[in-house]
Amino acid sequence: MRLEVGNILIKDIQFGERTEVKKGVLFINKDELAQVTGADDLIASVEVYLAKPGEEIRIIPVKDVIEPRIKVSGKGGVFPGLISKVDTVGEGRTHVLKGAAVVTTGKIVGFQEGLIDMTGPGAEYTPFSKTMNVVLKVDPVEGLHQHEHERVVRLAGLRAAEYLGRAGQSVEPDHIEVYETKPLPEQVKEYPDLPKVVYVYMLITQGLLHDSFFYGVDAKQIVPTFIYPTEVMDGAVVSGNCVSACDKNLTYIHQNNPVIQDLYERHGKDLNFIGCVITNENVTLADKERSSNMTAKLVEFLGADGVIITEEGFGNPDTDMVMLCYKIEEKGIKTVLITNEYAGRDGASQSLADSTEKGDAVVSTGNSNEIIKLPPMKTVIGYPEVADIIAGGSDGSLAEDGSITAEIQVIIGATNEMGYGLLTAKAR
């Protein structure tokens, strides 16, 4: 499967009469965007804001961040099974409004939502202080159940991203990246002397508000399966979760999965990237055993020499990661794990909830419990009072002056476990 990703560099976003890209500026017809986003009987209101890097803006609580993309050629449309038909995607050409992002906010759905600061110390921890954000405050009709609330906001964000992406359909990209993984026998033959690497891609699936979607299917219901890496670039995997802000894999990060990108970077040079196995993180022991067994089997079946395993979430999913590591290493296949840490506010406790001696190669993306003080911002989009109740906040986190003292857990993407950011933790 071969995908050309055409990046159209977006240097600025502004409201305008038509939604279009002109000389690197994304102009947005505000009313039309609000209309597309709100095209659901269960949505009561949509407000559109712009938040740019360096501005004194805080967005809270954030549900998801999505990158505007559109299919130019090849089968299907973005986010298959959710807002497009369920065609298999990942082939042909896709255009990206690189530098722009859709951020959804609104009344809180679950405790585990977080914030984005566009400037100040908090901005250093989130990748989305560096993007031009189109912020959608989506509030549903009264009396909506939490489960429906989550779905309604998730789909609204996807519709908005596709709508904006469409503006790039016939724009000449600034640069084009080509990604290709061939059918297994051909791919193995192409670089016969390089180690074969598989990416084991864990998706959080702990129940509602902690779910991920694969071609529209709730990933709780999948058994681990093999995918081409390019499928996720077209939105085959979508975040539907309110797991802790710091370590949820936002849809944007799925679309730009850094492990996939960095494996492709070395593909054909130092390694042979033969594909991905997606697996889930269900809550029952039988499910954990089944999924880890099947993943280990698939990785072996594919003939992998090494794998990178990325976790999503913490605590309970640590057990899934540890089982995967143990079972894959047992087969003589080398593993590297990417995880974050929950070592306590003082950094003195054990960082994971489970352990295996075979986990001897771990990349840490930082201690989520470390405390940060976020100064007040001139503008707050959303509902700042939730700072006291979201995961990583505590009673009194939000001070009268609007500053927030909380764990970095509250910051979107701060300790992302796909290794999207630079953060790590060291022994001291």
């Binding site: 585990q112 990178i308 306590g344 506010r345 994971l352 930082g366």
Partner: protein
């Protein structure tokens, strides 16, 4: 301004005597004594040892609480910016004294401490979290080698400079995890690490896997029909409104709530504070997390002796092991006093 340092040493290094003088009570002397002379040289003009507190090893270890108080109050009079303890090398009681003084100085005086010990000194494991302990050789033959890194670290701490890694500074890792931004993103570091692992080259894991305590199961209840049973949960079951504001994640506290007059949990009287799982089903009927209804029925039917009149709740979501251990110690103490025979622990 010159950095003011107080030095803590034992009777042996003060030249008072060996084991026969180990019951020497705390005393303070102006200026540098014994190994302090070497530190004085290392500090030059920048820092000054204003006083040395001396205490005998036996006296300290046999009267720890009192000895710590005496030593600290002597130190306080000299308004130190930093305290140096030892080095104690592999002397166990001296190491423990150094560690205990260091911990108290940090907690009570709020100033940094540098100690020095051999890694197997029992004082290391007891106190490495509280103080920076420079790794030394086994015996005092390594004094000069110990003084240089201790003095260097002391100056850095007193100046408020950022410290390097344990390897760079020479201190024993304290088991503390500290965030910092790396030069490359995590995914790239993972790919590099995998390539090295595949090639059989050296690599360093960024997080050595944790080691956990094993808790031996308690003996079985002999007669369940007479047993007083308590409910304790990390699933966040709290009275409606979460009166103690237990955090949805990284809990810093637990709550104790009365079960008197309560036979059933329902959306009107209870909810979950937990942020790590789908709360919808718990909030519909909290007996799903804390089975009060079933235990009340069993109590009425005489299948258990009684249900303890309080339940204890916290949130086990990203909650540190240190906090969990503290909650457990405090809860267990109360349950013991209340004569509870067994506990049903529920999680989520």
């Amino acid at each position: 301004m010159t950095i003011r340092i107080v030095h803590f040493i034992n009777q042996f290094f003060a030249g008072i005597g060996g084991e026969e003088k180990a019951d020497h009570r705390p005393e303070v002397r102006e200026g540098a004594v014994g190994p302090g002379i070497a530190f004085k040289e290392a500090f030059g003009e920048e820092a000054e040892i204003v006083a040395t507190v001396v205490c005998g090893d036996s006296y300290f270890n046999e009267n720890m609480a009192a000895a710590v108080d005496e030593v600290i109050s002597m130190m306080e009079n000299y308004r130190p910016d930093l305290v140096i303890c030892g080095p104690a090398f592999n002397a166990g009681r001296y190491g423990i004294a150094c560690g205990a003084v260091a911990e108290t100085v940090v907690n009570r005086l709020g100033i940094p401490v540098v100690a020095g010990m051999y890694p197997e000194n029992p004082g290391v494991d007891m106190y490495k979290k509280s103080a920076y302990i420079i790794e030394t050789s086994k015996t005092a033959a390594g004094m000069r080698k110990a003084v240089t890194p201790m003095a260097r670290l002391a100056l850095k701490l007193a100046r408020g400079e950022e410290l390097g890694s344990p390897e760079e500074e020479g201190y024993i890792p304290r088991g503390i995890r500290k965030n910092q931004f790396a030069a490359e993103r995590g995914s790239k570091r993972a790919v590099e690490m995998l390539l090295k692992k595949l090639e059989g080259e050296e690599y360093t894991t960024e997080y050595p896997m944790p080691v956990f305590d094993r808790v031996a199961p308690a003996a079985a209840i002999k007669d369940i029909k007479k047993a007083k049973i308590a409910l304790v949960s990390s699933g966040g079951p709290v009275p409606k409104g979460n009166p103690d504001r237990i955090e949805s994640s990284s809990a810093t506290k637990f709550g104790k709530y009365s079960l008197q007059w309560l036979d059933d949990l329902n959306p009107g009287n209870s909810e979950t504070a937990h942020g790590g799982y789908d709360p919808v089903y718990a909030n519909e009927d909290l007996d799903r997390v804390l089975p009060v209804d079933v235990l009340r029925e069993m109590e009425k039917a005489g299948e258990i002796g009684s249900l303890h009149e309080y339940w204890y709740a916290t949130v086990g979501n990203g909650t540190s092991v240190a906090n969990a251990r503290r909650f457990a110690t405090e809860i267990a103490k109360e349950l013991n006093v209340a004569g509870v025979d067994a506990v049903i622990l529920t999680s989520t």
